[in-house]
């Protein structure tokens, strides 16, 4: 399998697993407007996943569904941040702020890359994730500067997920070899600037962590992903070869 395949799968898996978690909020959100908003966001993420996995699949004769439903856990390449269980609504918004801000910076660069397909996907996606960032920002501000309880929960969520943000900016040999790949390491400073500005404004304090989780890009995940995949894949795997 090619570097381009591997790289595209990373981005596709991020979006796919994020979509799966976002969708768990549907019919469980704090208010109906948020069911709609999270539905939109989940659909955007799923759409990105499909475009990326279709493209990856086209490089080695597989379909998006082959990649989503018939790979093992160790073959998934998403960030651990995306696979963590939902937690409360503050966790959902902290994750969305961290992840969408990263995606925004990444897609912004990717849309000028030499690979037309990736550039095209990124060009469409960058607008979507700008909305995600905005949505998350509004909620982090509201929750951080809302009630005592919401402040406490927002702070806890920002801290709980912070140790999963380092992974977003890891460079590796694949990134070095593949010209069209966006090196995420240099995006970190701007990501921190943006995210910390929101956190500061929210009256929450800046999270710190002595440890940063890693492994998603090489298929070493948290113990949560296995359960997510069992659910995601069970029907498809129960009917091998079927069309839906």
């Amino acid at each position: 399998m090619s570097d381009l395949f591997d790289y595209t799968v990373r981005l596709g898996d991020d979006a796919l697993i994020a979509a799966q978690r976002t969708a768990e909020w549907i019919a469980a959100a704090p208010q109906l407007e948020e069911d709609v908003a999270l539905g939109n966001i989940g659909l955007d993420q799923l759409g990105q996943a499909r475009s990326l996995l279709q493209y990856a699949g086209s490089l080695d004769g597989r379909t998006e569904d082959d990649l989503a439903y018939f790979r093992e856990e160790r073959e998934f390449r998403n960030l651990q941040l995306c696979e963590l269980p939902n937690g409360d609504f503050a966790h959902a918004m902290a994750r969305l702020l961290y992840f969408a801000t990263y995606q925004h910076l990444l897609y912004e660069e990717l849309r000028t890359c030499a690979d037309e397909t990736l550039a095209g996907v990124a060009g469409k996606a960058v607008k979507e994730v700008a909305y995600h960032v905005d949505h998350a920002t509004q909620w982090v501000l509201r929750l951080g500067d809302g009630t005592e309880e919401s402040h406490r929960r927002m702070q806890a969520a920002l801290e709980a997920l912070w140790p999963y943000t380092g992974e977003m900016f890891e460079s590796d040999e694949l990134i070095g070899r593949l010209a069209v790949a966006v090196d995420p390491a240099p995006l970190r400073a701007e990501w921190e600037r943006r995210v910390l500005a929101v956190i500061d404004e929210s009256t929450c304090s800046r999270p710190e962590a002595s440890y940063q989780h890693t492994g998603g890009r090489s298929g070493r995940h948290t113990e949560h992903l296995g359960y997510l995949l069992a659910e995601l894949q069970h029907v498809a795997r129960s009917h091998p070869g079927a069309t839906w």
């Binding site: 796919l16 799966q20 969708a23 768990e24 549907i26 019919a27 469980a28 959100a29 704090p30 208010q31 109906l32 407007e33 948020e34 069911d35 709609v36 539905g39 939109n40 989940g42 659909l43 799923l46 759409g47 996943a49 499909r50 996995l53 998006e64 569904d65 989503a68 439903y69 409360d88 609504f89 501000l141 509201r142 929750l143 500067d145 809302g146 009630t147 309880e149 919401s150 929960r153 659910e231 995601l232 069970h234 029907v235 498809a236 009917h239 070869g241 079927a242 069309t243 839906w244």
Partner: protein, 309 residues
Amino acid sequence: MLTRMDSFQATIDADGRIEPRDAMPEGYRKTLIRQIAQHAHSEIIGMQPEGNWISRAPSLRRKAILMAKVQDEAGHGLYLYAAAETLGVDRAELLDLLHAGRQKYSSIFNYPTLTWADIGAIGWLVDGAAIVNQVPLCRCSYGPYARAMVRVCKEESFHQRQGFEILHTLCNGTPGQKAMAQDALDRWWWPSLMMFGPPDAASTHSEQSMAWGIKRHSNDELRQRFVDMTVPQADILGLRVPDDGLVYDDATGHYTFTEPDYAELYEVVKGNGPCNEKRLAHRVKAHEDGAWVREAAAAYAAKRQEAVA
């Protein structure tokens, strides 16, 4: 001189639209609130049985379609609560009544979704029945409700086609898939027929609603329309409608069919269905889990307001 109530009756008689600021009889207002609220509640409770399969949808394309559909239902809930609010109640009140079990939602959502084929069956049968029920509501005498229904019906006919398409794919798939489709039809057929409510002879609210231009057709008329529309579609799918009494009557151009077991309907309406408890408990939990979020949003908004003032 015409009283404001005369003007209401004149509008109704002329098949015109009553708008929020128009005078209306209290019974008309109450009937509408009850009906629109029940309709809105059905949209949001209806998210659950289908939402149950989003995480397990067997292809990404189907997953996306299903997510969009369930999200549309949340949107329908929003329009409908907004329509109800034009009658002087607010959404929070209506939700409290739902959560307390004092307002109903469509009993169809008290049946479980047990296989992926159920997602097809719900789209095809349940949305199909909803459309038959709702298309006449696009001409309902109350303007905001009628306009909400136009939008709802348009999306639902889209959902209905998607449901049919899911089943069509299954019916042309493996034997296991075909069996799954038949099983879904077997389970959803009778509850779908009951979506039109009790038979006319036993229907309580109908007459006055007809007079007010809220309701346009009787339950049995609509049920017949649904059967006539659906049976030929089952034939196209190659599925058997689970009714030994089903016969096409050349003379009338309609299908004769066995009446569903309304005793079951009454039980489910009373709260005694397979999923009544689960649906309400899930809804209440989401609401309670979200209370701190809504409070925070209100507190934040109040602080901004203060800052501006």
